[in-house]
Amino acid sequence: MMQTIRNIFHFHGGLQLDEHKSISTSKPIQDAPIPSMLVLPLLQHIGQPARPIVNVGDKVLKGQVIAEADGRVSAPVHASSSGTVIAIEPRDVPHASGLKGVCIVIETDGHDNAIATNGLTDFTTVSPDDIRARILESGIVGLGGAGFPSFIKLDPGKFAVETLILNAAECEPYITCDDMLMRERAEDVINGARIMQYALHAKHCIIGIEDNKIDAHAALQQALAGSDDIELVRVPSRYPAGGEKQMIYTLTGKQVPSHTRPLELGIICHNVGTAAAVFRAIMQGEPLVSRTVTLTGSAIPQPRNIQVRIGTPITELLSLCHANEDDIDRIMIGGPMMGFDLPSSDAPVTKTCNCVLATHKRDRIAPQASMPCIRCGECANVCPANLLPQQLYWHARAQEFDHIQDYHLFDCIECGCCDVVCPSHIPLVQFFRFAKTTIWQQERDKEKSDKARVRHEFRLERLEREKQEKRERHNRKKAALKKDSEKGDDPKKAAILAAMKRVQDKKSTAQPKPKNMDNLTAEQQELIKQADKRRADNQTAEKTETDKSS
């Protein structure tokens, strides 16, 4: 077999941790019932939040797009069961900050009516572009935890992809969702890998699986059924073997340099859960509406893996496993190493939520006060990214954010190995997270101030231009007035004069000269005289009347 030939490389550092995995692998994956309410956050991935395209009161079907991708790095959100949209508002989301995020809330009707699907029988009949478009429409994001939209990571662009790596390490303690998925749906994973390989034009495809997953390895091997297009490689179980850069190094011996994507080395890494989701989306036309979640920890009486609809409130999962919420000390999303505390159990399961870890109050570990760093160097020995955590800590503590980047802060994968070994119990990873997010904020502030500078300069320019225009307008008006007065020929005045002249002329010609005035008798002349007199009298009377009235 091919896996025996491949040379395995061992990454620096790492830890052998207690696995705690077998407690949740004894039972098969259970389908969770439809919850009464689904809370679907618009941001379940890295990038821009999705834009809602439904309104409150709308009826939706399972698999219907309720929010579409907004921007280049984004992913749509689908209704994971049928029902009515009852709210689009900020709700508790699984995020370390404990802040609320905008969610679409669906009251389910229990019928689970789905929209019509159009799966393919043979994916090679469509182009890789079409595959990527279908994956985007299906809302698939990296299910390993980071949640980067998968269609982008399936686009080789200008690079030639040598190797597609499927990451099946699942190195973090307690988490078994990928393990169980491979055991039960090995064919989905293998066929999903083939679709991904086709979309990427990848020459090789390797599945890297930790050597503690014997059953999953056997299931994959069975699903491969002797075909050699996909290589199945066992890697040593050592945390964090599932880190992207660590997995790439283990399998290929290539180190991904800082600020470089693996794609630039011709390597792409995807999670096995993502591969299974791709298979379902392409071959069955089913968008990402559910995922496998591990429910485990000392506060869960029946730890197991559950196929959960995205948007199911975590409190419903806890009651499904008969956990008593009063006994729970803390709930973590993700594993004990890289997970974060869930601020509220009302928060829903999202696309990136692989594990709900609930610890019992009796297992509570009091937080230990951190002591000064003694420079023992243990952290540097275990760092799988070859960093110097104590130097990073020093600069993060002093908030020297320029110097900290000289020590490659952004290569830190926050695996938590340094935290575990630190004899002084310094919360190193939290210092690094603090430093990273502060640097990001400074970058955002810088961007904003650059924008403000441009706007301010534009405003000054605009004010100057307006002033100039006003001055010009004023000058033009002044010049026009001057010209008119020089000419002394006001058209308005002339028009008035002309009108007055016309009236005058009309008046003077108003009394027509009577004809037949020759050879009149004296009597007739007397009558004319009398009439003239009467007319003259009338005129004077009129005149005095108008004078009086004016």
Partner: protein, 187 residues
């Protein structure tokens, strides 16, 4: 002797031409120090430094007319960055020019009360207020620098200062030193 003089004259002429050409070809339009200082200032354009905007203040610093501690929105990080750039000693922020705000803020207009007088629009240094005469005005929160220059001219006091809302996108992890101090105090 003559050869030496001629050689030197020729060399001088050649270098003169080269320098003359370089002076024209690579001429710097504005003072690069001013640009560098301007790049470090927060661009709120609030005028608290007594200069009408960040660039005039940058020019004043470059000319030695102003101290580096007159920018309250920039606060200590800006003072340290300026001190580093100019090789001067860092100074504490001059309280005459105002205090550092604890949180980033923007302004909002109470649209019910706004009478549409356009005075705030004229005051805004970054054109972040939208509206027209006798029409309701509104602040484009994305563009607002939080300079608060629009507040004094408003005749009906309908502009309020609000802290920038923290979201999942702009949230940052707290420094563990705060937790640690409480832990140490407790133990």
């Amino acid at each position: 002797m003559l050869i030496a003089i001629i050689t030197l004259v020729v060399i001088a002429a050649v270098f003169g031409l080269v320098l003359g050409f370089a002076a024209v070809r690579f001429r710097v339009d504005s003072d690069p120090v001013v640009d560098k200082i301007d790049a470090l200032l927060p661009q709120t354009q609030c005028g608290q430094c007594t200069y009408p905007g960040c660039r005039p203040y940058a020019e004043a610093i470059a000319n030695g007319e102003a101290e580096i501690n007159q920018c309250p929105p920039g606060g200590e990080p800006t003072i340290l960055a300026l001190a580093d750039l100019l090789g001067r000693d860092p100074l504490p922020l001059n309280p005459e020019h105002g205090e550092v705000k604890p949180d980033k803020t923007v302004v909002i207009i109470d649209e019910e009360l706004c009478i549409g007088c356009t005075l705030c629009i004229q005051a805004c240094p970054v054109d972040a207020i939208l509206g027209a005469a006798k029409q309701m005005h509104t602040v484009i929160a994305e563009e607002c620098t939080g300079c608060d220059l629009c507040i004094p001219p408003c005749p009906v006091d309908c502009i309020y200062i609000v802290p920038v809302k923290e979201t999942v996108a702009n949230w940052k992890w707290p420094s563990p030193t705060d937790d640690q101090q409480t832990l140490e105090a407790g133990s």
